[in-house]
């Protein structure tokens, strides 16, 4: 593989991008969220067509009109969100779509043999006969990688592969990737975690605002240099200054138990309290009950047992709307699914979640001018970059969408904020702004429940930390002393007590 040249004038996504990836390299592509990395990879994988520019593999010009073309050319993609069928086995998932047949029948034996061969060669340790639904996140990712290799890929694209992993799993993944590199596989690695990139990559290309800024060797630069290349400025640091914790309990959760739709216990006898002016962080590997805890607090999912008390008032039996009216604000983990009406204009999104309160409504009717005015305020105060409040939410970048949500939820004087992954998938600028907002609100006495997969954020932004594992709060940690590694061990259950 000699050269990929790619150039096209996208208005937001990419413009005049040039990247050359050498065969057998781990080539990292870094940039803020929204810089255009994902779009670029989608073009390379045939999911989108460039307006201009060309892709060359080993000097041969390629034109992909679908992922199938890209796969045929030896390009494979491991998506950030796994695309596996839960109720099939690893083997079945891997061969899905490229089933080996003999005389019209599935040839499982041959497939199993090849899968075992691949896992041995690269240290991708997975049992082909396990059901995917029983696998953890790291295992699932390995299945995705095997799937790509099984299809004969020699160029692998990994889109933010470490975003969902704990540090220990990241190390494992990197070992796998190094083995692949030794075998001559080419790996394109997308990330915005600079330490990881520096430890693994052979070459690093930085993208900013849709265009390539520089290609550097890891030995020549520091994480700080890279970060400045990425954002054109200094990186924000998540940190709290002096404590603003008061002795007034704002939220008291007692013995909360929540069941999943199929009757499993997903939150098991959880108790904790949050004081006014305090941020309590919940650490945990995704899928250990965070989503259910949040939904139970918001009244979206019923509590099987236990009590939720907000400022002395028992809200366990209240509806979501009543809880919101009582002062709970909510930043959902998936803003597209739960936080926004993507096709509606910004000012209507301002109303969402606040349908019953001024300035959005007058009696039973919507107060359009009130809502619009207040949206203008949010856009200004929270630096939402948009040409107007009449554009649909889908037209905004992720960071600006999130700033709009934060601004909205900070309105109407909330007393408790449930913030799930508030800075996930937003650029550094927005991240810094959101952290700032949290700090300000905390200083004014807001109680915050912070759930995040970003351990730096958790440690930096929390007054107290709790570790959630399989639906139980298994450990407490002091954010002033704990390291990400310690926290990671606690999250996987390796240690029951964290920190000194």
């Amino acid at each position: 593989m000699i050269g990929i040249t790619k150039r096209f004038p996208g208005v937001v996504a990419n413009s005049d991008i040039n990247i050359t990836v050498r065969r057998g390299d781990v080539h990292a592509i870094v940039g803020e969220n929204g810089a255009g990395k994902s779009t670029l990879m989608k073009i390379l994988y045939g999911m989108q067509k460039p307006d201009e520019g060309t892709i060359k593999i080993q000097d041969k010009q390629m034109s992909f009109s679908s992922p199938a073309d890209a796969i045929a050319a030896g390009i494979g993609m491991v998506h950030q969100h796994f695309m596996l069928a839960d109720n099939l086995t690893v083997l079945e998932n891997v061969i899905l779509g490229s089933e080996p047949t003999r005389a019209g029948r599935l040839n499982f034996a041959e497939a199993r043999q090849r899968i075992n061969g691949i896992s041995k060669a690269y240290g991708l340790d997975v049992d082909p006969d396990d059901l995917v639904e029983h696998l953890g996140v790291g295992d699932r990712q390995r299945v995705e990688i095997i799937k790509v290799l099984y299809r004969g890929a020699s160029i692998l694209i990994l889109d933010e592969p470490t975003a969902v992993l704990v540090p220990q799993e990241v190390d494992e993944l990197f070992n796998n990737l190094r083995l692949m590199r030794e075998e001559g596989q080419t790996i394109i690695f997308i990330s915005h975690k600079l330490d990881e990139v520096l430890s693994l990559a052979d070459a690093i290309t930085v993208i900013r605002r849709g265009t390539t800024v520089a290609t550097v060797q890891p030995g020549q630069v520091s994480a700080r240099d890279l970060a400045q290349l990425m954002v054109g400025s200094e990186l924000p640091v998540p940190e709290l200054r002096e404590s603003t914790v008061t002795d007034q309990v704002e939220l008291q959760v007692q013995g909360l138990t929540v069941l999943s739709a199929d009757g499993r216990t997903v939150i098991d006898d959880v108790s904790f309290a949050i004081h006014r002016g305090e941020i309590v962080g919940i650490a945990g590997v995704e899928g250990n009950g965070q989503a259910e805890l949040v939904e139970a607090l918001m009244g979206i999912r019923p509590a099987e047992a236990g009590r939720i008390v907000l400022a002395g008032q028992d809200v366990t039996a209240l509806s979501t709307r009543a809880r919101r009216e009582a002062g709970i604000a909510f930043i959902p983990e998936d803003r597209h699914r739960q936080g926004l009406l993507l096709e509606s204009p910004l000012w209507e999104n301002r109303i969402l979640g606040h349908q019953t309160r001024p300035p959005n409504t007058v009696g039973l009717f919507i107060d359009r001018s009130g809502a619009r005015r207040d949206t203008e305020r949010i856009v200004k105060d929270y630096d939402v970059r948009t040409p107007s409040i009449d554009v649909p939410a889908s037209a905004l970048s992720g960071g600006n969408q999130q700033k709009l949500i934060v601004g909205r939820e900070m309105s109407d004087d909330p007393s408790l904020l449930v913030a799930a992954h508030p800075t996930r998938g937003v650029d550094v600028g927005a991240q810094a702004a959101i952290w700032d907002n949290l700090r300000t609100a905390r200083a004014q006495g807001l109680a915050v429940l912070l759930i995040s997969a970003d351990l730096d954020e958790l440690i930096g932004m929390s007054d107290r930390l709790k570790v959630l594992l399989r639906g139980r709060l298994v450990a407490d940690a002091d954010p002033r002393t704990v390291t990400p590694e310690d926290l990671g061990s606690a999250m996987t259950g390796a240690a029951s007590e964290v920190g000194p």
Binding site: L341, T356, D383, T386, S388, S394, A432
Partner: protein
């Protein structure tokens, strides 16, 4: 300061322009127009295939359809179509598919005709009673599907289709067994005719002694009410939010169960009105030849009108016009079923056109936001 001021001025100016932008309006109008043209083209091909001249066909339809008689008939037909489509549309706005509008209005018309025929009251009360009975019956019948969905998880498409069949059987049973009065020598059976106090007079139209349904105003009223309910009320916001993203609506505090129950009932109540113009303005009795299938026509018209009260008005008038003017085709030896093909292709191509426009617009808006933001701002501001 002054920079900021200028920036804000340009911003609001741009917003104003964006709202009034001629190309945006153009896109909204051109798309359905092109779709209509496309449907006319397809129909022309079918016409040529069946040996008729498309130009002659369209011309004779226009000439005939614009006669005073037919204008009145078209408006009357459109009135019922409009009510039917609005009843369907309110569900569609929250992704609730009330396919049972047909059964709801038939049952409502039957029971209200029976009640209306059985009592004698002063005029306004008599009419009010009939309408209230119709709305109640429609709402109650639709609510069965709402309750099944909320409490038993039954898909409303399935349950409303089943309820249509049950409404047919139940209606036939009630009509033949309890409600019918026989007219000597007629093979028709129907409810006892509603007395004069329960009837609503028509509006004269020059050039014909056909009369426009007095209840055409009811349709207008329902359209205005629909607009305010959906676009201006809190309920409407919740309704649209649920339609656009159920998960976001739930997170915002909307009780989807409550919305399903309410919306089904409202949709059914509106469905109850569908039969009123015909019943109170023309037939005064529910008999075997009471118009059927209006609920299904309503589905197509709601799609055609994009669930928007003004769009639906155009759709209803168009379908009413096609229905009426098709009569001339038979007389000229052209199969009038061609109109059904036209209606089908119109709905299909308009829906496809809307979808294309929607995508084009999203892309335009995204790139507009992109260009708008790409130019002046420096990243330093972002990290401030």
């Amino acid at each position: 300061m002054s920079d900021l001021f200028v920036a804000q001025r340009t911003l609001s100016l741009r917003r104003l322009l964006a709202r009034l932008a001629p190309h945006k309006l153009l896109l909204t109008l051109v798309a359905p127009a092109l779709a209509l043209l496309f449907a006319a083209l397809i129909s022309a091909i079918v016409l040529v295939g069946s040996g008729a001249s498309p130009l002659f066909t369209y011309r004779s339809m226009l000439e005939f359809g614009l006669k005073p008689d037919q204008i009145v008939n078209t408006v009357n037909q459109a009135t019922t179509y409009y009510l039917a489509a609005i009843a369907v549309a309110i569900g569609f706005r929250m992704n609730l598919f009330n396919i049972g509008v047909d059964g709801q209005y038939r049952l409502a018309a039957l029971l209200s005709a029976f009640v209306g025929g059985a009592v004698h009251l002063p005029a306004p009360l008599h009419v009010a009673l009939i309408v209230v009975v119709a709305v109640t019956v429609g709402a109650a019948w639709a609510s069965i599907a709402g309750i099944l969905k909320v409490f038993r998880g039954v898909n409303e498409v399935i349950s409303t289709i089943m309820l249509n069949a049950i409404a047919t059987a139940l209606g036939a049973y009630l009509l033949t067994t309890y409600f019918s009065v026989s007219v000597a020598g007629s093979n028709n059976i129907g409810t006892k005719p509603i007395g004069a106090s329960g009837r609503i007079g028509g509006i004269a139209f020059p050039g014909t002694d056909n009369r426009v349904f007095g209840l055409v105003f009811l349709a207008v009223l329902v359209g205005v009410g629909f607009h305010f309910l959906v676009n201006r009320s809190r309920f409407g916001f919740d309704l649209r939010a649920t339609g656009l993203s159920a998960s976001a609506a739930v997170a915002s505090g909307v009780s989807v169960r409550r919305m399903v129950l309410l919306t089904m009932a409202i949709s059914g109540g509106l469905a109850g009105l569908i039969g009123m113009p015909q019943l109170l303005g023309s037939s005064y009795s529910y008999s075997l030849d009471f118009p059927a299938g209006l609920g299904f026509a309503g589905i197509g018209i709601a799609l055609l009108g994009r669930n928007n009260p003004v769009g639906i008005a155009f759709g209803a008038l168009l379908f009413g016009f096609l229905d009426q003017s098709s009569q001339i085709l038979d007389l000229n030896g052209i199969p009038k079923e061609i109109v059904l093909i036209m209606q089908g292709t119109i709905v299909l191509s308009v829906v496809v056109a809307y979808e294309i426009v929607r995508r084009v617009r999203i892309r335009q808006q995204q790139s507009a936001v992109g260009t708008d933001l790409a130019t002046p701002t420096e990243p330093q501001e972002a990290a401030a």
